[in-house]
């Protein structure tokens, strides 16, 4: 078999193997699968014929065609070494074919050299094929690795996309939640405002009975004293008629005294009405120099009479220990009045509750004390009620914490009071209590930052 035939067969097998899966391969490639069989047969048939040299050219032609085809296709771009492998054999077969055409003496000689060169060319081909196979294997491995990497990259990219989507989704969710929370906050603030307002109205409701009582009393005095004065004037006229100057003078004195009583009680009623209006108005937020003794005393009476009017069986004594030297301090009167009122209401409630439990021998008492301690003033509301149990002591300043039966207390009293004293006035509100002994609430307001120190 000629070398060109062999190379052609090798090339055909190789070509078929490489191109059979390629989508754009020419259609005839499919038929190459078994092409080597007829080619082999043909090759052996030609071999036995005398016209062999002519067929050699056919083989060479086929070989050249295949080589040029392989060179053009990009599928073989990395297998140029195959060409190098077949090159020596191809050249040899070329030369042999040409030499066979001319039958010269020297050619015989050259031919014998060429015959010797053939094995080397075969060895070359074999070696190259082995190297080529190895190369192909490594290449395939590398390609596989690359493909694997690419696949991984794709997976990672997909994951990344997924994660990014997730993040956008979550961000949207969080933004939505944030907006919802903000809305809730706005609603809550509004509700809080309403609650504070209704708490004020509730405490005002508690006050009305006390206010009615507190106004009725001075008005009674006003009426009674002016009636007395009318009488006295009649008596005075009588005395004048009698010429009793001493008596006239005495009566005139009494009339003057009574008149100052009328003025006093008139002012008392006036102050209560003003205080009530002030309590119901929304706070101006304006601090004014305030006589704490007068303010506290007034609210003590209002709270007491308010409870009395509501519950006829309620009764307690109260005492005041007011420091007459107490300087006026700058407070927001409406707010501060509320604080004091809340403390009195709590104190009266506590003693009333205790009295319900301990029928005899218990004397309920509430004590209001004002005093100056160095650079601050203290307002103390003390009661001898049941005291505050240890386990709830840290909760009493929380909004809505109440031990009153449902519907009776908002639980806002102390929390509002705490805010007003601390945030509103830079002061402090603290509690001292002993179970079974009583409770003391102490408001302290610093004088210094208050700036208003003259009495």
């Amino acid at each position: 078999m000629s070398a060109a035939a062999l190379i052609s067969i090798i090339l055909i097998i190789y070509l078929h193997k490489t191109l059979k899966d390629s989508p754009d391969a020419p259609p005839w490639v499919r038929y190459l699968r078994f092409a080597w069989i007829p080619l082999m047969i043909l090759s052996f048939t030609f071999e036995s014929m005398k016209v062999r040299s002519i067929f050699d050219f056919i083989w060479i032609g086929l070989m050249l065609f295949l080589l040029s085809f392989i060179l053009k296709r990009r599928e073989f771009s990395n297998s140029r070494s195959l060409l190098v492998a077949v090159l020596p054999l191809a050249i040899l077969s070329f030369i042999t074919a040409f030499l066979n055409v001319w039958n010269f003496e020297i050619i015989e000689k050259i031919n014998s050299y060429i015959e010797i060169a053939y094995p080397f060319a075969f060895i070359w081909l074999g070696a190259y094929l082995i190297i080529y196979r190895k190369q192909k294997k490594t290449l395939a491995k590398e390609r596989q690795k690359l493909e694997e990497e690419e696949r991984l990259n794709k997976v990672i990219a997909a994951r990344k996309d997924e994660l990014e989507n997730l993040v956008t989704e979550r961000t949207a969710e969080i933004t939505k939640q944030k907006e919802e929370l903000q809305n809730t906050l706005v609603e809550l603030t509004a509700t809080q405002g309403q609650l504070i307002h209704s708490e004020k109205m509730a405490s005002l409701g508690e006050l009305t009975a006390g206010i009615a009582h507190e106004i009725q009393n001075p008005l009674n005095f006003v009426n009674n004293f002016s009636d007395v004065n009318t009488e006295l004037i009649a008596e005075m006229e009588e005395a004048i008629r009698q010429g009793n100057i001493e008596e006239v003078k005495a009566i005139a004195n009494d009339i003057r005294d009574n008149n100052s009583k009328i003025t006093h009680h008139g002012k008392r009623a006036d102050a209560i009405v003003k205080g009530m209006l002030q309590h119901s108005r929304t706070s101006t937020g304006q601090k004014e120099p305030t006589d704490i003794n007068a303010l506290a005393d007034e609210y003590l009476r209002l709270a007491y009479h308010g409870l009395r009017a509501k519950d006829k069986s309620f009764n307690t004594s109260y005492e005041t220990h007011l420091d007459p030297q107490l300087p006026k301090i700058n407070v927001i009167p409406q707010d501060f009045g509320r604080v004091i009122l809340n403390l009195f209401n709590n104190a009266f409630y506590a003693v009333a509750e205790r009295k319900k439990k301990e029928a005899t021998g218990y004397k309920p008492n509430v004590i209001l004390t004002t005093r100056r301690i160095r650079d601050q003033i203290e307002i103390v509301v003390a009661d001898n009620g049941g005291g505050i149990p240890h386990n709830i002591l840290d909760k009493i300043f929380q909004p809505f914490f109440t031990t009153k039966p449902t519907g009776q207390g908002t639980g806002l009293g102390l929390s509002l009071s705490y805010d007003i004293v601390t945030k509103g006035h830079g002061g402090n509100l603290r509690v001292e209590t002993q179970e079974g002994e009583g409770t003391k609430f102490i408001i302290s307001i610093p004088l210094r930052q208050n700036a208003q120190t003259q009495a």
Binding site: H213, Q216, L219, F221, N224, Y304, T316, S317, N365
Partner: protein, 124 residues
């Protein structure tokens, strides 16, 4: 006759002294004043032998007028002193309780002094 007026309003004293100036001057009536139930009780203890009529407010801090009434009617010598209750709240609850506890009369504020004067004189 000695009349004890019990009221936590201090000006009640001035008012009574003015209103009954003639009676006081003529010693027809003699007034004493207490500003709480407790004070009234200690006064009564030290003035056991004087004929006493008591005019008491109901609504006072500490011992209320009703408690005072109960004490007087329960613990004092026979015959117990006459007790008239005066209240700012003319409600039936207070009235019923006062009568149950043995109050001799029941007046509401503002006090009508003409009526009061007549009542006191009729007891006299």
């Amino acid at each position: 006759m000695k009349i004890l007026v019990v009221d936590d309003e201090l000006d009640m004293q001035t008012l009574f002294e003015q209103r009954f100036r003639r009676e006081i001057r003529s010693h027809e009536m003699d007034f004493a004043f207490a500003h709480s139930g407790e004070e009234a009780l200690s006064f009564l203890k030290t003035h056991v032998h004087e004929a006493v009529l008591i005019l008491s407010d109901i609504n006072m801090p500490g011992m209320s007028g009703l408690e005072l009434l109960k004490e007087i009617k329960g613990n004092f010598h026979e015959p117990p002193p006459v007790v008239m209750m005066i209240t700012a709240y003319g409600d039936p609850e207070n009235y019923n309780q006062a009568i149950k506890l043995g109050a001799d009369d029941f007046l509401t504020k503002p006090i009508d002094f003409t009526v009061l004067k007549d009542k006191l004189k009729s007891i006299h």
